[in-house]
């Protein structure tokens, strides 16, 4: 049974901002197919009326912080690791097309 085809993998790669060459595309497609085939096991279970568990500790609710300002990083600290900067701003290659 085919669980995932190369076009889908290519599309998923784009969504993830990854580029795969042909060799990689082949390799990942078959690996993902075998993993998904194993995962398909889950369909043996009828979970029609089961609530999903997103949080392991279900009793934890309503966690807030107060609206009181805390010390921010200085621009120097914020930009310390920046691969490129101009003054106090992060610099990136241009976005070719408008958002």
């Amino acid at each position: 049974m085919k669980f995932i085809d190369k076009d889908t993998v290519k599309h998923v790669a784009l969504l993830s901002r990854l580029r795969l060459d042909d060799k990689e595309l082949d390799a990942y497609s078959s690996q993902l197919a075998s993993i998904l085939s194993y995962i398909d096991k889950l369909n043996e279970l009828d979970t029609t009326n089961v609530q999903p568990t997103s949080h392991a500790i279900a009793t934890l609710k309503n966690v807030y912080r107060k609206d009181v300002p805390r010390r921010s990083l200085s621009p120097e600290e914020a930009l310390k690791n920046a691969p490129a900067r101009e003054g106090d701003l992060f610099k990136v290659p241009q976005v070719i097309e408008g958002k």
């Binding site: 934890l60 912080r65 609206d67 300002p69 621009p75 106090d88 990136v92 408008g98 958002k99």
Partner: protein, 477 residues
Amino acid sequence: MNYETVIGLEVHLQLSTKTKAFCGCSTAFGQRPNSQTCPVCLGFPGSLPVLNEEAFYYSIKVALALNCKIQDLIKFDRKNYYYPDLPKNFQISQYDMPLSYDGFVDITAKDKTRKRITVKRVHLEEDAGKLMHPAGESYSLVDYNRAGMPLLEIVTDPDLNSPYEAYDYLVRLKSILEYLKVSDCDMEKGSLRCDANISVRKAKEKVLGTKVELKNMNTFKGVRAALEYEAKRQVSCVKDGEKIVQETRLWDVERQVTVPMRSKEEAKDYRYFPEPDLVPFVVDKAIIDKARDSLPELPEARADRFRESYGLSEYDSNVLTGQVDIAEYFEKCAKLYNNPKTAANWVMGDIMAWLNEKNVSIMEMKMTAGSLADLLKMIDNGTLSGKMAKDVLSEAMETGKAPQDIVKDKGLSQISDEAQIEEVVKRVIALEAKTVIDYKAGKKAALAFLVGRVMKDTKGKANPSVVNAILIKNLGQ
């Protein structure tokens, strides 16, 4: 063939909490770039969000003010997409269980009837940073001060049927939001933004036409103009047999047209899933009651009260209650001065005109409501003529000086003393013999001329009605 326009509006409102939605960075406007950031709002590895209680509370207030139902259990979701102004390349937002839903705002349709616009949802999310494109350069610059600011997204059903209605909706929505004091509501500062969805269809057609998303409208008038243009464009396309492309278009305010956004938009797959770093929030009756109790009297209710308690017309009530600051100013004045209609006229007339001209808000204007009351009392007791009062008003609004002081300094007291006025009247009658003859011959305009001469002689200070009476008495001989 009549075409119907179908419009839905999406408003993003920046909440005026002191700190951001998920971290303790300050929300102050206009600071040095990247000086209000931290590992959380920068999305540095290892950082985690914690919800700002005040932002949550403000959201509930807005939802209640817009008559929405509130979810019992609220969760946040991740909206995943890549963009440099989005530090984590996902936005913490709400997807399938928004904080509130099914509310409404009543507007006035073009035919003056009342129309209910459904507010489909109001939900809380975080804002992105600011991306700047220096002209002519091959790079872009990012400031993350705005990243993580709390935003409310307010979405209507496609219930609006004209640009006029859209404009009215926005004005009323802003009015309500300002009353709540949860946001600056300032489109220029970007604390209120609006996108629109618009489609057209033949009148009476049930199926909706292809919708186009409009962005980049920076004022309410801009929204109306953009919708007007786009509606015409779409009708024209349909008439020509062209298909409307489902796309996003930008409003070009210089050329007053909408243009397609040049982007290869990949099919938007945001891969929403529940935010695992935030726990769910139970909204119990206590929170809702507290929020509801803290709601101020909202514009519509206030307008009703103004009509009843102050006996003002519907129009006057609506104008005065449209902006919360104006309403509050008026009420302060009305407490100190017993003729609300007069006070209303001055506020809606000279004062609001001056505010518009100077482009300031009534809060920034220096004349207090108490001073206005004093001024109006001085007119009533004859100290000032109506015309003189306007001059005093002008100065008071500029300088904040008390009207009594202005009158004293400028020696502006109105002359009502009859003997004093009679002296002047006699002198004028003696000098203007020809006009007197005209008056006696039945020319009414002559009287006005003579009144004018007396006023000029007294440098405008004589009480005009007293002048009138004394002239007539003296001319009658």
